[in-house]
């Protein structure tokens, strides 16, 4: 068996554990098959959840397509940290056009491949939550509606982190950003706003929609693999903690992702043809405070005066998710 | 250069009439240019379309301000739009109506023009008969061919065939032919009247 040294900081503990498994059961990240699509040496912050998510997702897509992959990338952290002139971390054909047009650029690439009879070449589009839920939403919805053969991956860190942590329509309620300051009687982002893009994607009736977190590597990879089994528009929404924007220690990225899942704040599920077909269940529900406390963007909920009323509303939202997706029930 | 201005209402095929006229002229080896007034496209709104015919390349792009012929597809426009604006002294007037110029209240005005250049054709009725729809445009082109002699009826037929599917084309061709026949005797009678 050939041997490839894997840098521990790139892949987490799960990878190492996986190496005890038979080859065919291993995650892509733990095998020599992985392509290092987003290679080391890029300039993401320490503990960047997006870099991790992109690396897992694109390597899995590369494996699923046997290396026949082209990526379109929205403007944002991922684009900036991966391709500072004159370097690029991308080991695959990759294009960055604009902030708001990535889904359309991917449509164009897919059309080119189709017309050239190269249907084995698959297309991934990727962007952050701002590029997906806000400025790129029109193009994304168009791509969904036409059912173009593109897997769109949203790396959701809940805000415009690249421009200095401003609110997006994926910023959670009460979170402090540069444009939802932690001042006044209702500090942080307001309740009752924002978009649930996975549900919107499902409403388009596209073949496959899934959510994932960077703490569940095997699940994330499995969803990419599953997505690649379909032709047509597919959507994968990955929650990627951002130490800078969330204000947590960079060593806590994986834990924050896991807590987002275990509190019910971020339901992890998949859907085919607009119907939920599977959920990642929670062994024990964690109170939302455990998720909120390590993040400075929620610091105003705990001091100087505890805001139990606000925390309760967040807890209620998490409880609703748990009920709605049956996250606690036995399979 | 011979310039035609066509007045009608949205939905009456005014623009198509100008286009067919240009195609008919083209088929006879002329240069021709047809263009709409580019205005409102709403059904029922006043619409103007233009056609220029010449034996050399037509470069002019201004609207037709001094037409040699005017086709009025809808007589209700007479009191609404200055349909005769700029018409040359030797100009032609073709109106879609079953009434006469006198009955339309145009007797005095029409007297300024050569009688043989004036013609009314009940094109809507003719179209209803042959096409089954109140679409007077093709029928009026038959009348135009008869009155002006600028294009032949055969070229009008060919233009209709180019523009419409075969079934619709046949009806319109019949309508154009009947209008042509309708306009011819009228014209001949007028000739006689003048001779008298």
């Amino acid at each position: 068996m050939s041997f490839q040294p894997i840098k521990f900081y790139q892949t987490g503990t799960f990878t190492v554990g996986n190496r005890l498994l038979p080859d065919n059961e291993r995650s892509v990240q733990s095998t020599v098959r992985r392509t290092n699509s987003l290679n080391s040496g890029h300039r993401a912050c320490q503990g960047c959840g997006e870099a991790l998510g992109a690396r897992y997702a694109i390597d899995a897509a590369m494996e699923a397509t046997e290396g026949q992959l082209i990526a379109a990338n929205a403007t944002g952290c991922l684009e900036v940290f991966s391709t500072p002139y004159p370097e690029t971390s991308w080991q695959i054909p990759w294009i960055h056009s604009l902030f708001g047009n990535t889904a359309a650029v991917a449509t164009g690439i897919a059309a080119a491949m189709r017309v050239k009879g190269r249907s084995e070449v698959r297309v991934v589009a990727q962007g952050g939550d701002g590029g997906t839920t806000d400025i790129g939403f029109g193009c994304l919805s168009g791509m969904f509606e036409r059912n173009d053969d593109v897997l769109y991956i949203c790396y959701d860190n809940g805000g415009y982190m690249n421009t200095g942590v401003q609110r997006s329509s994926a910023t959670p309620p009460a979170a402090r950003t540069a444009t939802t300051a932690a001042v006044g009687p209702t500090p942080g982002n307001v309740f009752g706003q924002g978009k649930d893009l996975p549900l919107i994607a499902m409403a388009h009736g596209i073949p496959y929609v899934a959510t994932a977190i960077v703490s569940e590597l095997r699940d994330l990879e499995a969803k990419v693999r599953r997505a690649m089994e379909f032709r047509g528009a597919r959507y994968l929404h990955i929650l990627v903690p951002c130490p800078l924007g969330w204000g947590h220690d960079s060593s806590l990225t994986i834990r924050m992702a896991r807590l987002a899942h275990e509190t019910g704040i971020f339901p992890v599920f998949e859907a085919e043809g607009g119907e939920v077909t599977g959920v990642s269940r929670i062994r024990r529900q964690v109170p939302v405070e455990e998720y909120l406390k390590p993040q400075k963007r929620y610091a105003h909920l705990f001091s100087p005066k505890p805001r139990e009323d606000v925390i309760r509303r967040i807890q209620e939202a998490a409880d609703r998710n748990i009920r709605k997706y049956r996250l606690l029930e036995e399979a | 250069m011979f310039q035609i201005r066509i007045h009608g209402r949205g939905g009456q095929g005014v623009v198509t009439a100008a286009e067919m006229l240009s195609v008919a002229a083209f088929m006879e080896g002329h240069h021709a240019q047809a263009f709409p007034s580019f205005g409102s496209e709403r059904t029922g709104a006043p619409v103007v379309a233009y056609c220029r015919i010449d034996d050399r390349e037509i470069r002019l792009r201004e609207p037709i301000l001094e037409p040699d012929a005017i086709i009025i597809q809808d007589p209700t426009l007479l009191n609404q739009v200055d349909v005769f604006g700029g018409l040359r002294r030797e100009g032609y007037i073709l109106i879609n109506t079953s009434r006469t110029f006198e009955a339309l209240g145009l007797g005095e005005f029409a007297a300024q023009f050569p009688a043989s250049h004036l013609c009314t054709v009940p094109a809507t009725e003719i179209a209803m008969k042959h096409v089954g729809r109140p679409m007077p445009n093709a029928a009026l082109l038959g009348g135009f061919a008869a009155v002006t002699g600028r294009i032949t009826l055969e070229s009008v037929f060919a233009a209709i065939r180019e523009k419409f599917s075969q079934r619709v084309a046949e009806g319109n061709i019949a309508a154009a032919a009947e209008s042509f026949a309708h306009a011819r005797p009228e014209k001949e009678e007028l000739h006689h009247a003048q001779a008298d």
Binding site: T83, C139 | G39, P46, E62
Partner: protein, 417 residues
């Protein structure tokens, strides 16, 4: 083959002869007939090996074209007016990435007030976007320019816009000589892009470039575009040899020899100007016309040579740089050895206002007599303007300008002549 067809149809058929592989369609008047016709050609199988994509906006249209071109497909779209502005970010992006996209712009005014009629303010807003800009005088030229545009685009790895006057050309039926597939194939080589996204040879396109090299990237874009000035004249000759007619090139000069007054213009108004010039020549006046076919890159030296003998230049342009005056004339001034004061700007035809021989002859005569102001608005209704200005003087709450003007005109809706 001679045909009497609508300009939009002629362009669509010509585009189809260029074997595009991806066409993005979004409706906006007066461009719509072009993509409608192309859609029909694709769906009917006459244009095979082509993806026709109905997108959700002009921004998406250009973006799909960007993706397709980057992945190695010959890509085409068409737009106008608000659509061009809506895709502006992607328009610049296509040029910056060096993607050989061809786009028809059926020139139309820009709102507010909303106006669907012809002028050049749409394309002039994008004049410095890095695309090659070609202007058609007739439908024949519009058709021919597309064939040349596809060749230029792929030779230089730059996008090309072919501008044709909305409605005036797009909706006009006139005679065109449609080339055969064999003729076009002989003139336009198969698509062979300079850069392509391919798993076999991965590249990163659109990487961020900082101060250390951004200037160089822009410089190279400029150099590539200026290369067009060398290629276009030769290709115009090749085109004449292959197709038997003059189309394209950098400029068209008409009766400029010994002309004291030279009128400069772009697009279909050149025809009306030529007729006017013929009439004035017949009266013994020494006047000629210079039509600019290639507006970007700006053929400075060629324009300078063409204007060298003139005493005065009258630029008739369908656009305005609000707060400055002429756009084309500002370009012309850089290429006229005479005094800048002898380059007159005549803003004409905004929002579809008819440009007549009579009005043109009046301003040309006025220029020759030395009485033309430096900036003239052709056939401006001064009374209407005065009333609006008076209203604004009289009351703070004079209301929307467009509504006030229309009430003064006594029309419920705008109408031409």
């Amino acid at each position: 083959m001679l045909k009497q067809i609508e300009g939009s149809r002629a362009v669509a058929e010509a585009v189809a002869l260029c074997r595009p592989e991806v066409i993005c369609a979004y409706p906006i008047s007066p461009q719509t007939h072009i993509v409608e016709a192309l859609g029909e050609l694709v769906k009917g199988g006459e244009l095979s090996s082509c993806e026709f994509i109905n997108v959700e906006s002009e921004f998406a249209a250009m973006s799909v074209a960007i993706g397709a071109a980057a992945a190695g497909a010959r890509s085409y779209t068409a737009t106008a007016s608000q659509g061009l502005l809506f895709m502006a970010e992607a328009v610049y992006n296509a040029a910056g990435l060096g993607l050989p996209i061809v786009m028809t712009v059926a020139n139309r005014a820009i709102g507010a007030p909303i106006n669907i009629w012809n002028d050049h303010t749409d394309v002039m807003s994008q004049r410095d976007c890095g695309w090659i800009l070609l202007f058609a005088e007739t439908n024949q030229e519009a058709l021919d320019l597309h064939i040349e545009a596809f060749r230029l685009a792929q030779a230089l790895s730059l996008p090309v816009m072919v501008c044709m006057d909305g409605f005036i050309l797009t909706h006009a039926y006139e005679r065109v000589d449609m080339p055969s597939q064999e003729q076009v194939d002989a003139f336009l080589p198969p698509f062979d892009p300079r850069q392509v996204l391919d798993p076999a040879r991965p590249v990163s396109m659109g990487a961020m470039v900082g101060p250390e090299a951004f200037m160089e990237v822009r410089y190279l874009e400029h150099v590539r575009q200026m290369r067009a000035l060398e290629l276009i004249p030769g290709w115009a000759e090749q085109f004449r040899d292959a197709f038997g007619r003059d189309s394209g090139g950098l400029l068209h000069a008409y009766r400029t020899e010994d002309a004291e007054t030279i009128v400069v213009a772009l697009g279909s108004v050149l025809g009306t100007i030529k007729d006017t010039v013929d009439e004035m020549r017949a009266r013994g006046e020494r006047i000629g016309v210079l039509g600019i076919t290639c507006f970007r890159p700006w053929p400075a030296n060629t324009v300078r040579d063409a204007l060298a003998g003139a005493k005065r230049i009258v630029v008739v342009e369908k656009s305005i740089a609000v707060g400055l005056g002429g756009i084309v004339s500002a370009n012309v001034r850089t290429s006229f050895a005479g005094h800048a004061d002898t380059v007159y700007t005549v803003v004409a035809g905004l929002g579809g206002r008819s440009i007549t021989r009579q009005s043109l002859a009046r301003v040309f005569a006025s220029a020759a007599a030395g009485t033309l102001p430096p900036l003239t608005f052709l056939d401006l209704d001064h009374g209407l303007v005065e009333r609006a200005l008076a209203r604004e003087r009289d009351t703070r709450h004079s209301g929307p300008v467009a509504e006030g003007l229309l009430r003064d005109v006594g029309l419920v809706a705008a109408r031409i002549s």
